[in-house]
C-alpha cells in the first residue's frame, strides 16, 4: 500500500461519513448530544482540505496530517480519539513509502493503544473501542493466516460492524453516554458505528469487492 492508497482510504472515509452523517447524528441523539455525524463530517472535510493544500509524500504523513486535522476540527470527544488513532498509525509507519499488510496491523495496533490510553475505555464500555479492537484483532489474525489484503480487510470490517452491533445491549461506562447510566442500554454507540464505516472505507480503498 502506497501514499495514494491511504489518500483513497481518507477519501472513502470522508464520503461514507458524509453519506451517513444524519444516521450517526441520530444514534448520538439517543445517548449523546446529537452531533457525532456533524462532528465527523466537519472533521473529514477539514482533513481533505489539508491533504489537498499540502499533499503528503508518504503513507505516514497522510495519516499524521489527517489525525491532526481531526483533533483540531471535530470539536467532540471523537476528535481527539480518532485524531490520536490516525496520528499513532502515521507515526508507526514512519517514512516508509510502501506499507505491507503486517505494517498495517502494527500501525492499527498502535492506533488502538493510543485511543485506549487517551480515553481510558476498555472493550465493553460501549465506545468506539468496541468496534476498533475486534477489527484490529480480526485483521491481525487474517494477515497472519496469509489472507490477501482484500479478504483480510473484509474480515476486519465485518468484525467492526459486529462489534458496533454488540454495543446495543451494553451500558456506557465512558463518554457522555456514561452519564445516562442504565438509560444508555438499548442503543448502538455512535462512535462504534463510525468506526465500522472507517474500516469499510479501508476495505474499499483496497479495491472492489
Amino acid at each position: 500500500m502506497d501514499t495514494s492508497f491511504f489518500l483513497a482510504w481518507i477519501k472513502e472515509a470522508a464520503t461514507a461519513v458524509q453519506a451517513e452523517r444524519d444516521h450517526l447524528t441520530q444514534l448520538d441523539a439517543a445517548i449523546g448530544d446529537a452531533d457525532h455525524g456533524a462532528n465527523l463530517d466537519r472533521g473529514f472535510a477539514a482533513v481533505r482540505q489539508v491533504l489537498a493544500d499540502t499533499p503528503p509524500q508518504t503513507p505516514g504523513a497522510v495519516l499524521v496530517q489527517a489525525g491532526s486535522a481531526l483533533i483540531r476540527k471535530v470539536g467532540g470527544a471523537s476528535g481527539p480519539l480518532y485524531g490520536t488513532a490516525f496520528r499513532q498509525m502515521g507515526r508507526a509507519l514512519g517514512e516508509a513509502p510502501e506499507v505491507t499488510p503486517a505494517d498495517l496491523v502494527t500501525a492499527l495496533e498502535a492506533a488502538q493503544e493510543g485511543v485506549q490510553k487517551l480515553g481510558g475505555a476498555a472493550e465493553g464500555d460501549k465506545t468506539l473501542v468496541d468496534a476498533f479492537a475486534p477489527a484490529v484483532r480480526a485483521l491481525a489474525q487474517a494477515v497472519q493466516d496469509g489472507a490477501n489484503l482484500e479478504d483480510a480487510l473484509q474480515t476486519a470490517t465485518a468484525a467492526a460492524e459486529e462489534g458496533a452491533r454488540a454495543t446495543v445491549p451494553l451500558q456506557a461506562r465512558k463518554g457522555r453516554a456514561s452519564y445516562l447510566g442504565p438509560r444508555s442500554v438499548g442503543h448502538k454507540d455512535p462512535g462504534a458505528a463510525s468506526t465500522a464505516l472507517i474500516f469499510a472505507a479501508l476495505r474499499r480503498a483496497a479495491g472492489p469487492a
Partner: protein, 131 residues
C-alpha cells in the same frame, strides 16, 4: 518583594460551553484576585458546543508565567483535549468539580501557591461541604 512579580500558576478553564468557561473564569478572578492568570477555553472554533485544541493551547500560553498551568475541564471532549496538551510537571489536569475546584485553585494561586499546592487545594474542593 524585589519589585519583580513572582510568577504565578496559571488556570485554564476548559468547558464545552464558551459562556460557562467565561463565567467560571470570572469566578476565578473574583476569588483569586485580578492578578491571577486565568483564561477560558470554551466551545469550538466555530462557536458550537465542544472543544477546540487551538483555544486550549492559546489559553495555556496566555496564562503560562513559568510556574505551571492547571487545566480544569468540565467533561468529555474537554477532558480528552486537555489530556492532549498535558505536560507532566508543568501543564496538568485537575480532575475536580469545575466551579468548586476552580475557586479553590484560584484562592491558592492568589496566595502564591505552587503547582502542587494548587492541585491539592483543588482536589480538596471535592470534599468541601456547603451546608
Amino acid at each position: 518583594m524585589d519589585g519583580q512579580a513572582r510568577p504565578m500558576v496559571g488556570i485554564v478553564i476548559v468547558s464545552h460551553s464558551s459562556r460557562l468557561a467565561e463565567e467560571v473564569a470570572a469566578l476565578v478572578r473574583e476569588f483569586g484576585g485580578a492578578n491571577v492568570p486565568v483564561a477560558a477555553a470554551g466551545g469550538t472554533d466555530d462557536g458550537r458546543l465542544g472543544t477546540s485544541l487551538d483555544k486550549v493551547i492559546t489559553a495555556v500560553e496566555s496564562v503560562d508565567q513559568g510556574a505551571g498551568v492547571v487545566l480544569i475541564p468540565d467533561l468529555g471532549s474537554s477532558v480528552l483535549t486537555a489530556k492532549l496538551v498535558e505536560e507532566p510537571g508543568s501543564v496538568v489536569i485537575a480532575d475536580v468539580p469545575l466551579v468548586e475546584g476552580a475557586i479553590a485553585a484560584a484562592v491558592t494561586v492568589g496566595g502564591g501557591g505552587s503547582l502542587p499546592d494548587v492541585l491539592s487545594s483543588a482536589e480538596e474542593a471535592r470534599t468541601f461541604r456547603k451546608l
